[in-house]
């Protein structure tokens, strides 16, 4: 008689059992805030298509304290999401060889951060210039 009876373990609440998985769920969760902000922008575009009055109403709504708070939360969440994104970037790239040496994972992540910082500063500069 076959005495084999392999036991398959169930996986309820698997992501709560390891700090690594908890962090994974959190950083995946922050993607929802990226989507939410895309909807805010889309909504603005839609209001713009309805003429000047609608657009001015949208701008006014953006300046309400509630909207400020919402945007602050969005900024933090999207900031964290970008951070995790750059952290994993070295795992998604083929070996990057500069001057005969392989670029380290830390350098790739840092490069991503610096590029984001420069792009954000440039965008802020342009927005500032337009608003003057």
């Amino acid at each position: 008689m076959n005495k084999r009876k392999p036991y398959v373990r169930p996986m309820p609440g698997w992501w709560r059992k390891n700090p690594y998985f908890i962090e994974y769920m959190i950083h995946e969760g922050t993607a929802l805030f990226v989507a939410a902000y895309a909807f805010v922008l889309l909504f603005g575009l839609w209001r713009l298509s309805q003429g000047e009055a609608a657009w001015n109403g949208f701008i006014a709504a953006l300046q309400s304290p509630l909207s400020m708070l919402l945007h602050l939360i969005l900024l933090l969440m999207i900031g964290y999401h970008s951070y995790t994104w750059f952290k994993i970037m070295p795992r998604t790239l083929p070996p990057l060889i500069i001057g005969g040496k392989r670029v380290s994972a830390a350098a790739i992540t840092a490069g991503g951060f610096i590029a984001t910082l420069l792009a954000s500063l440039a965008l802020l500069g342009i927005a500032w210039g337009i608003s003057q």
Binding site: K3, K5, P6, Y7, N18, Y20, P90, L93, P95
Partner: protein
């Protein structure tokens, strides 16, 4: 050995009498140069001869002693009791069916390993008289890291996607597949592409990344999986532009 002891909790599962796995605690004499594997060997030699676990090399190269140590996939021979002061919990490797105690069923992985054509298929056959297939150190660099895999399956135990869906080809097999694809002497990239592009291939991965974190050989299987996401997408779109066969 000193007269210090520590307690090792070991997962037990004896198919002929247990309905499900349970934990048994053992007091084991402890010295700070003892590996987890030595702790288990002490239990088997002096406390309970029926405890089942796999090991062979004792030096992190055979890949047989993978198990969960305090919930983290580890090689028992490369993990030291001193890092778990007082008490440690040893369980069978996650995501694999348990055969007995710490021994898991590996059939699924072995099938996957066979499926990836895990050997070099020469681009063109040449007669022996023309000598060997040569490769420069720079060409070897492209795959060397991925050839370090010892099939220990810690990465599978770290992968929730594999746990939830056993059809997923998984980190280790994809890392090895990538190793052969990246070999300048190999020409079987095309036949491996089908496995990568399948529903159960690279796109089953949601980039958790824990596989690379736990790999004892710095293989970085997550890197192999993610690089092949790009490779599959390229293969899909470029086939409209060029005939199949330009895999590399």
């Amino acid at each position: 050995m000193t007269d210090q002891t520590m307690s090792i909790e070991v997962m037990r599962y004896r198919p002929e009498q247990d309905k499900e796995p349970w934990l048994q605690s053992f007091e084991v004499p402890y010295s700070d140069d003892m590996s987890v594997l030595q702790g288990l060997q002490y239990i088997r030699d002096y406390l309970d001869g029926t405890l089942a676990f796999r090991w062979s090399c004792r030096q992190a190269i055979c890949g047989s002693c993978g198990m969960m140590v305090d919930g983290v996939p580890k090689l028992a021979c490369k993990t030291f009791l001193r890092d778990y002061p007082g008490k440690v919990r040893i369980e069978a490797l996650n995501h694999f069916p348990i055969e007995r105690d710490l021994v898991v069923v590996l059939d699924d992985f072995i099938d996957k390993l066979e499926s990836i054509t895990p050997y070099i298929v020469p681009k063109e056959d040449k007669p022996l008289s023309e000598g060997e297939y040569q490769q420069t150190p720079a060409q070897m660099d492209w795959y060397a890291q991925f050839s370090g895999c010892i099939n220990c399956l810690l990465c599978y135990a770290a992968c929730p996607q594999y746990g939830l869906n056993q059809d997923f080809l998984g980190p280790g097999a994809i890392a090895l597949l990538h190793r052969y694809n990246q070999d300048s002497r190999d020409g079987a990239c095309e036949q491996r592409m089908e496995l990568l592009a399948a529903q159960e291939g690279v796109f089953n991965c949601t980039a958790v990344g824990y596989c690379s974190e736990v790999c004892p050989k710095a293989v970085d299987p997550a890197n192999a999986v993610n690089l092949n996401k790009t490779a599959v997408a390229k293969d899909y779109f470029l086939r409209f532009a060029r005939p199949k066969g330009g895999c590399k």
